[in-house]
Symmetry: C2
Subunit: 243 residues, 2 copies
């Protein structure tokens, strides 16, 4: 009960104590083990319980606070918040790690749906208001994408870089930040099956046409094509009921 890292893997995969503690508490909150409204264990007690220093606990709790998973008040107790009402998109990472809550498959579908929604509107806005220079860069990047290696991972990276140009061109910072949250947050965790994404990644022609629509300022056509292209990877799985 005194160390967080197992004695195995002595010098491999070292992770900061506060990071481990953060992940542990985060998962307990997301998993519902720590109910919303209930009080988190006091910092001193947490430190004693896990055999770590109180500062490490504080760093972890501070991150929980920033993620809006808990509400701390000087002198009072630290209360667990309802993440479904307070947590932000950045939390998508690690939501899958929790036992309860949405499954990895559901989260993957949700992230892909959001990607399609944002991507389509970003393409539309990009066609409307990106600079001529940005449009030219997108067209040029399409050529690089076409010459991208046959390796699926490499192709995926090139695809992300290509889409980033479009999202940047949309001039919408919120879309840009959400794009970041999805790219290095939700999607890597989800591990979308390759078979699902090939239909999108291998269609170089669709990428070329989309770039053309943007450069030609055909906003509606760009939006429709983007939505169609990005929807291919969305698993058509319907959940029966919510809540």
């Amino acid at each position: 009960m005194s160390t967080l890292i197992a004695m195995t893997q002595r010098h491999i995969r070292r992770e900061a104590v506060s990071d481990q503690l953060f992940a542990l508490l985060r998962d307990r909150i997301l998993g519902g083990e720590l109910a919303p409204g209930s009080a988190l264990t006091a910092e001193r007690d947490l430190a004693a319980e896990y055999g770590v220093n109180r500062h490490a606990v504080r760093e972890a709790v501070k991150r929980l606070q920033q993620a809006r998973l808990v509400e701390v008040s000087h002198g009072g107790r630290t209360l667990v918040q309802d993440w479904r009402r307070t947590a932000g998109l950045d939390l998508a990472v690690g939501i899958a790690a929790a036992d309860a809550g949405p499954s990895v498959e559901d989260l993957a579908r949700d992230a892909l749906e959001m990607r399609a929604c944002i991507g389509a509107d970003a393409a539309r806005l990009c066609a409307i208001r990106c600079s001529e220079l940005a449009a030219a860069q997108i067209v040029e990047a399409t050529g690089r994408y076409a010459r991208s290696g046959p390796d699926l991972a490499e192709l995926g990276a090139a695809d992300v870089a290509w889409w980033r140009l479009i999202v940047e061109g949309s001039g919408n910072v919120a879309y840009l930040l959400a794009f970041n949250s999805l790219v290095d947050g939700a999607l890597p965790v989800a591990e979308v099956p390759g078979a699902l994404r090939t239909g999108e990644l291998l269609d170089v022609d669709a990428h070329v046409r989309l770039a053309g629509h943007i450069a030609a300022r055909e906003a509606e056509a760009a939006e429709l094509l983007a939505r169609e292209l990005l929807s291919r990877s969305v698993p058509a799985v319907l959940r029966k009921a919510v809540r």
Copy 2:
């Protein structure tokens, strides 16, 4: 140079040292004062510079790390990252605080655009796959919304609660988290002019019809109406060029 809080407001609006330091460093990064790729001042030096303890500095840096504004490595220097490539949607708060970067007006427009985009798709999905119970609750909540006070702030709160039901009903956790990020992140900072929002908030009939579409499982009609309703508040300001 030794105290962060001004001597005025002695006991009013006390803020934790680490929170002040976090906000200060965050704004410097977002404002471009600290260039991406450059090294952040060492923790010991920051502590000395601001006359605070190193532990407070560490808590602030830890939050910067979680926000993906910096990259810290044990033994090496802490590097400033390019927030446009790494930061997530939760950062929308405080982006306006930075001097450089997007203006508050631009950020408000971006947030409203994203709200319309997500809201429309959430309404569509809600009509497709929310439970009968959830649909009934949305219809019922519409009645409460109609009886909501004439106060614009109260009406706005009721509106947020009403949309939350729809986003919940969509069954998409990513949408739910993004909704949270927008509601208690970007939108409050933006302070959308009331005149802009009245066209949306006062139209109770549109809310009633939207709830009806969802209950009737008319996905396309719900999506179109939601998009139209949410687009009313978006300022039709076009920026000339991006980048």
